[in-house]
Symmetry: C2
Subunit: 341 residues, 2 copies
Amino acid sequence: MKRGHQVTMKEIAKKLGLSVSTVSRALKDSPELHPETKLKVVEMAKSMNYQPNLLAQSLRISRSKVLGVIVPELTSHFFSSNISGIQDTAYKRGYNVMICQSNESYVQEISNIKILVASQVDGLLISLSRETKNYQHLQDLYDRGIPFIMFDRVTEEIPVSRVTVDDANGAYQVTKHLLEQGCKKVAFISGPQDLYISKKRKEGYLKALVEFGITEAESRVYISDLKEETNKQIAKQILEEADRADAIFAMIDPLAIDVMLVLKEHGVRIPEDIALAGFTNNPTSSVVEPSLTTVVQPGYEMGKIAANHLLDQLDEIASDDPQSFILDTTLIARNSTLKKK
Amino acid sequence: MKRGHQVTMKEIAKKLGLSVSTVSRALKDSPELHPETKLKVVEMAKSMNYQPNLLAQSLRISRSKVLGVIVPELTSHFFSSNISGIQDTAYKRGYNVMICQSNESYVQEISNIKILVASQVDGLLISLSRETKNYQHLQDLYDRGIPFIMFDRVTEEIPVSRVTVDDANGAYQVTKHLLEQGCKKVAFISGPQDLYISKKRKEGYLKALVEFGITEAESRVYISDLKEETNKQIAKQILEEADRADAIFAMIDPLAIDVMLVLKEHGVRIPEDIALAGFTNNPTSSVVEPSLTTVVQPGYEMGKIAANHLLDQLDEIASDDPQSFILDTTLIARNSTLKKK
C-alpha cells in the first residue's frame, strides 16, 4: 500500500509546540484537556488537512491481543531471555506474542514488520538488525500510527520509547575491576566498530583507564568481526606482542571463551599471567575453568519492562511520548580475574 | 468458531481404503487418477455429506507466503537451531516465518495455533509442549485441512509427517562407548518418565547394557525433573552409594554439566573415577573441563528437512500422506569419557 504523504500527529504537535500525546488526546476530545487547547489542535489539524489513520484506529479499537516481536537472532541467550520477559508479561496481561527473526538482515527486518502488521498485531517490540542503518521503515510504521517500541538495538532517530542497558557503565565496571586487581595493561577486544554496543563499551573502557591515569593513546583496542577464527587470531597476536597485555576485556562472553581457549592452549595462567573478562553472562561463563568474570545484562527484565510499557501505552496508562529506560548492569567477578582471594 | 462434526477427507479415505492424498486428488479432479477411482471417491463424499473446507482451500489458493512455527521454548539451543534451519530454508523458497513459543504449556500451544491460523499462515511446523497429552487441537487443525507437520516432540496419533532424531540409537551409542571404555556400572539419569525422549533414550541405554551381558534388573536408572537442584541431589546420591557407578550417562547436556560440577566439588576424577556423558551437544559442552562426551542432534538439519517437506507438500511436490523422517545422531567422544588416549 503506497500512498502520498499523510500529515501525522507528530507534525501537528511540532507546529503547536505540544506533545504528540496532547495532540492525540485533543483529537479524541479528552475531558482532561483545556477546551482551548483542544480547539487549537483541531483547527491546526484541519488547516494541515490531517486525516486520522483509520487502519491504526481500527487496530486500537478492535484488538487482536497479539504483540509482535522482532529480534536479530534467536540463538543468542540474551535475546531469548528478552523474549521470555516479553512473553511472560504479555500473557499475564492477556496477550499472545508472535516472534520474527531478522537474521541480522535489514531486508528481512522490513519483511518481518510487513508480515506482523498484516497479522494485525496490536503493537510491536523491535530490536534492530546489525545491518539496519536506514530507518525509513520505522518512520513509516510510526507515521501509520502503529504502536511500537525498541529495545537493546535501538535508534534515537524515531520518537518512540526505548529500553536499553547501560553498556558504557558495564564496560567501565569491568575495566575498573581489572585495574583494581593490579593489572596495568588492559586490552579491549571490540566487535565491529559501527555497532552501538562496540562504541558504548569502548567508551566505558576508556573512562576507567583515564581514572587510573592511562591515556587513550596508551589504550589497547583490537577489533574483531566476532567470528571464532578472528577472535582466536587476535588472542594469538596479543600473546606474541613484546609488551604483552596483562588483562583482556572481551566485548562479549563468546569472544572471551575463544580467547580463553587460546590462552590455555599456550599455557598462559588465568588470571595470574593474564586476567580475562567478558560481558553478557552466558550460561557457559559460569562453568568454564576458570569461571569467567562478566557483566550481567538483565535480558529478562528488559523484555518485561518493554512489554509492560508498550501495553501501558496501548491501554493509555502511559503516554505515547517517547521515554528512554536505561537498565543497570551488574559485574560478576569470578576466578578468571580474581588474583587476590 | 465452534462447529459440529464435519466429515473429513481422512474419513472418506478410511471408508474406501485409499490414502488421504488419493481422496484429495480425486476431489480436485486430478488427471493422474483413474476415472473410476475419482467417481468412487466423489460418490462416497456425497453420501457422507462431505463439505470441502473453504477456508483451507482459500488458504491454499491465495498464499500468505508465511509459515508458522511453534516450539516449546526458545532458550534451548536445540530449538533455536531448528528454527534457524526452518528459516533459512523458508527464505530460500520465498517464505517468511512467524514463531510462537508454548512455554511448555498445553493451553499456550492451543492459543499459539489459534493466532497463527488467524494470521493465515500457509502451513505450520509444530513441536509439542511437555504438557500436551491430548491431541484434539491437532486433530481439529488436520480436519480443517490446514497443512502442518511435527518435529522433535511429536505424536503418532495424527496422520501428518514427522521429523525426529533417532534418540534410542543415540543413547545406545553413548552407553556402548562407556562400556567399551571399560566401565562396568553405567548409571542413566533420565528426565521425567512420560517424556518421549526419556523412554527412547532409556531403551537405547538398556539395549547396550544387554549387549554387554548386563540385565535390565542390574541397570541403574535415576529419574530427575531436570531442575538443577534435583540433578545435583541425584549426583550426590550416586556418590554416596556403596556399590558406586563408574560411569554416568545424563539424558541431556545441562544435566551432565550439573553432575560434573558435583563430581568436581567432591574431588572425583573424570573419567578415571567416574566417566560422564551427556546428550545434545550444547555449546557449553565443548568448553567445560573435562570436555563433555555427548551426542550431536542435527537440530539445524531437522529444521531444514521439516521446512522443505512442508513446502514440498504445499507445492504438491510431495504427497500429503504422512511420512516419518528419522535423523541419525552422532557420538562425539571427548575427555570426560576417554580413559585410554
